[in-house]
Symmetry: C2
Subunit: 352 residues, 2 copies
DNA sequence: TTGAAAGCGCTAACAT
DNA sequence: ATGTTAGCGCTTTCAA
């Protein structure tokens, strides 16, 4: 029953004829209520209703170049982090009656470019969540269409990031309070701006609070990434580890468990972001929670503001507050912990 | 740097002028290569390239009503199941140079309708993953635009579903092989077609293989849903439970753990779908794996086929094969298991 | 093979 | 307040 409608959809001309007015009046009645007599407007609406008239957004877009669509580019739709982000963006967009066109870079810079090309002529603006493209390429896009970038503070492109500094500080302080004296950080993608920010902040605060730090990796920011580097982390006698993100942290926990360590007694683990899954692990993950959904919404709202004429605030990223959520994966340092039974880990998997 | 482009984008007129041909020839050169002399075509392409000409999809859409966009409606973007689905759809779409417009029903039938309205005039066809609308409403949509529905076999609308029957059979057989004699099924949303299919299949096969069944719920299909009904499940002395989906199953595991039961020795748990998270729990979840990504791709491919003129195959759903993935959450039945320490569970959360 | 011209449905001056 | 008249950029007859 997937037939085309038998009658072509009614247009403003049809409505105009029946209502006995000019097409432009019908147009006004919808596009700019108030610029038309209340009575005529009412009549027009009535006729429109009766005829089942629906404005054609394509035609409107052609003459106004307003498509009421914004593009959302993510580097991996399957990543739970982006799922939340998408929802936030989605909500903010529909609040203003915009629709979001989704593009998935699948972790490839080339695909990202390509997808962006396809998006460009259709959308009024673009939100990019963690790009795999060069800053140069980003700037080139920004020249063509309003753009807002997530998780990456660039000087001249509006961006929204989380307060990694405060997050790292909270994590370090928490671990110190638990008696830990040394922290191992498992690094994410080298190209990741966020990774740099987190490590630096962690390192600085640790020094400030008198803790040691060690950095391993980088790994792909997935469960497999964390799992794969688990042995290396444990071999060194780490008692507290902070993962680049939740997925990595969860991978580390899995590795620890395989090595027969007890969690969290033998090893404290902290993640970043607080994806939904963080709550479901055993033990549930202590993590620096980011307002992911809010990030998506903030990005879209600001983009929309720019589209409505606001001056884009470049030069200074919007930084969103984070908060440490203490769950079960962190505990008092155990001085005579079970030593890990290493060498049992095998890995397979892909990037994120 | 979010300025509008200083020069308006070049059009076919610009290209035509420089190439010394008529605009319509330029149009043909792109829209219908072959219907134009090879040399002129080459010249046109060269000029276009040099001018940086890009066809305007909006204008094209206005005269052809082909937007090269398809709508994808999900009932909850944040649900990992849909994340995978989206990716599949996304990939299939871009293979044919289509773009996907995402809409999120946020579990509300009303929002779903509304979002659909917004989508309708813009897309060439729609894929709906698990609708919250009535079949009547669905049929009404199907009248207006090619539609394909997931996880819900309707007589007269093309649909793709998984082989719940085979999945349930595999689950039951597995549990029987482990010595279980009774299975508790935790039901999902009443309105869910899938829930009905799963329960019926489970029930039938169990009877056939000589096992008892019991059905509890319905619950919202989330971790919280499973967690919340955990006590009820355990109180009855269940040794094997099958959840409506993975999230529910994982919730049950959490409840069991809170009740101090050992997993999987004291309780075997099986889920449905095999979302990414299923691998990350402790123990990792045994589940009836659905080819989620493939489902999304299949839906889109079939939709595209219809758009290209194929006759929609209604009346018989595409059913996709599933397979039982045995991981750590199922084990031999334990005749003298630890009895659960109930009454410790508190719940909060929302639907999925 | 190519060009001229008429739309696609709507918006936006410019008149009245 | 409303009507007239050009477009927006592309496709598509219809002629040449």
């Amino acid at each position: 029953m997937v037939d085309a409608p038998r009658t072509p959809a009614p247009t403003i001309y049809d409505v105009a004829k029946v209502a006995g007015v000019a097409p432009s009046t019908v147009s006004r009645a919808f596009a700019r209520p108030g610029r038309v007599n209340a009575d005529t407007a009412a009549r027009i609406r009535a006729v429109a209703e009766q005829l089942g008239y629906r404005a054609n957004p394509i035609a409107r877009a052609l003459s106004t170049s307003k498509t009421r669509m914004i593009g959302l580019m993510v580097s991996d739709v399957a990543n739970p982090f982006y799922a939340e982000l998408i929802r936030g963006a989605q909500m903010a967009a529909s609040e203003e009656d915009y629709v979001v066109v989704l593009a998935d870079a699948q972790e490839s810079g080339a695909l990202e470019r390509e997808a962006l090309e396809r998006l460009l002529p259709v959308v009024e603006g673009i939100v990019i969540g963690s790009s795999r493209m060069s800053e140069l390429a980003l700037r080139s896009i920004a020249k063509q269409v309003p753009l807002i970038v997530l998780n990456h503070a660039l000087g001249d492109i509006p961006s929204v990031v989380t307060d990694n500094r405060a997050g790292a500080r909270a994590a370090v302080a928490h671990l110190r309070d638990l008696g830990h004296t040394s922290i191992t950080y498992v690094a994410g993608p080298e190209a990741s701006w966020t990774d740099g920010a987190r490590w630096r902040a962690l390192h600085d605060t640790a020094r400030e609070l008198g803790l040691q730090t060690r950095r391993v990796g980088p790994v792909v920011p997935t469960f497999e990434g964390g799992l794969g580097i688990g042995d290396e982390v444990l071999a060194d006698g780490a008692t507290a580890v902070v993962g680049y993100n939740d997925l990595v942290a969860i991978g580390i926990m899995a590795a620890a468990r395989r090595a027969r360590m007890r969690l969290p007694q033998d090893l404290s683990v902290i993640g970043f972001d607080d994806i939904l899954t963080a709550r479901l692990t055993t033990p549930p993950l202590t993590t620096v929670a980011a307002p992911i959904r809010f990030m998506g919404a903030t990005a879209v709202r600001n983009l929309l503001a720019v589209l409505h004429g606001a001056k884009p605030r470049a030069g200074q990223a919007y930084v969103l507050p984070v908060k440490l959520v203490v769950r079960g994966s962190t505990a008092q340092r155990n001085r005579n912990r079970t030593s890990p039974a290493l060498g049992t880990t095998s890995v397979s998997g892909s990037a994120s």
